[in-house]
Amino acid sequence: MRPATSYPDRRDDVRLLVIDPAAPASDGIRETRTPALPELLAAGDLLVVNDAATLPAALPGRDPAGAAIEARLVAASAPGAGGKGGEGGEGSERSERSEGGDRGDRFWAVLFGAGDWRARTEDRPPPPPLPVGARLDFGPLAATIAGRSPLSPRLVELRFDRAGDALWSALYAAGRPVQYSYLAHDLPLWAVQTVYAARPWAFEMPSAGRPLSWEILLALRRKGVRWASLTHAAGLSSTGDAALDAALPLPERYDIPAATVRAVTETRARGGRVVAVGTTVVRALEGAARTAGGVLRAGPGTTDLRITPDFRPQIVDGILSGAHAPPESHFALLAAFAPPALLAAAAAHAEAAGFLTHELGDAMLILPGALAPAAHAALP
């Protein structure tokens, strides 16, 4: 599939491929558009979104020799690791860290050499060799390389020269959202936010939620579909280093409110379906449940769950996702929600019909029963 190179005219009106694993094999795929979403879900279903706002995570800078580099933030360092970041105490359901702010001064980042977003990530040169202790200049702020990951010399821990108010001001002044070489233009900060974005935990946009407008969300609610949210720190999708890419996604932090746990529990008890908006929501819910023996618990955590084709979700019944096809890694994740033959047919349909992929592209909904006769009749 071709990537979308710019925004759709309206964020909430893109093509939607509906894939119903419960439908007869010959009738499991339908094409519609995202405004039809309220017709595809049923009263009693629950839509769970990732409310992470997208950070200006790409920082252009200079190394100690003056050479151009770029740092793309990929994760906040674990609380406690940064000295000022761990005041909340990990694990409590409503800890300071969960409810309050991020006060740490350390982030993990992937470093790149010279160049800008017009070059594909995989074509960007690596950064010059930089020792632990090297100081990087990002204009309004600076950082010291505090550590290096065994996964790749490009993956380093940065300790910024300030924390709190001053750090966040400087990050928002110096940084820009991670950019994509296949786009016709650069992406400003507003363009990488969902309509419900709150805490800026995401290093790239949780883009499955991009087509959701309030028009659609309120129509879903009028129909009796509930919403719930969690926050999941979506990391980078690509690093330009094959070994590091193979290790993605890195462990990512999440925070699941108690109200979301209640909504999931009630939905499942009443036979409703839990629909995740994006793989970040799947990782948070399924990752959290795994750490507690299959029981979903509220609170902050970190998950290293990898969704593979043989992964069987325990909490989530369906997924709203961007449109993907082989060989994209995201496509393989969808196999956790539909049988391979159905997915292959869906990918072939999307390809032939000219669906657009990537951050600003079209959408897919995989949901058992989405094409049951009642919903079916309502589709245009």
Binding site: A53, G101, S169, Y196, R199
Partner: protein, 248 residues
Amino acid sequence: MNDLDGINALVTGGSQGLGRALGLALGRAGARVVLVARHAEPLAAVVAEIRAAGGEAHAIAADVADQEAAFKIAGQAAALVGPIDLLVNNASTLGPVPLRLLLDTDCEDLERALAVNLVGPFRLTKAIAGPMVLRGRGTIVNITSDAATEAYARWGAYGASKAALEQLARIWAAELGDTGVRVLTVDPGEMDTRMHADAIPDADRAQLGDPARVAARILALVRAPVAGTPPGARIAVSSAPLLTVEGS
């Protein structure tokens, strides 16, 4: 009174006048306060004052009229304190003083008044009301003026911008009616502030309201149950003892 414990509040125009008074009152009540203003130094002084009194406060130096600013402010604020529960759109500009007749008002000055007093609050509300609706709770307060409803000569740019802000607030309230997010418009009355002195230098300061008392009354509205104030209500808050609620 720590009854706003744990509430995350964002107040624009926080370095002076009513914004400063709101910041201090919110800090005393236990809220986590984020103040926005154009100039860093006076803002830092207010933040220091709140912290010295035992409150939590943070500063974001930004111009709400800057079209890039809304998501930067929203992002920084949520990073510092978490999702915002209370947004007060308080920053505003009179335009050049002494105030001019409309026939003598430069078009650019009208545009600037609209950018600060109308479009800026719209952008910031858009960025912050969405997560409030998702969570099913939140309060948005727009600070207005009687210049929005009375045709005072020389108050054209300011008055028109505030009238538009009030209508926007009524429509926000109508659209968000059943979401748990409350939108209010508050007319603080004439207060003893630098802005008032700029507009009416020869006013009798003894007749002007005390921003601290007005701030206390606004917080009383914030504390009141959602049912206690009609959606989109325009509430005149003077420092006199009684509140006047004009129809919704």
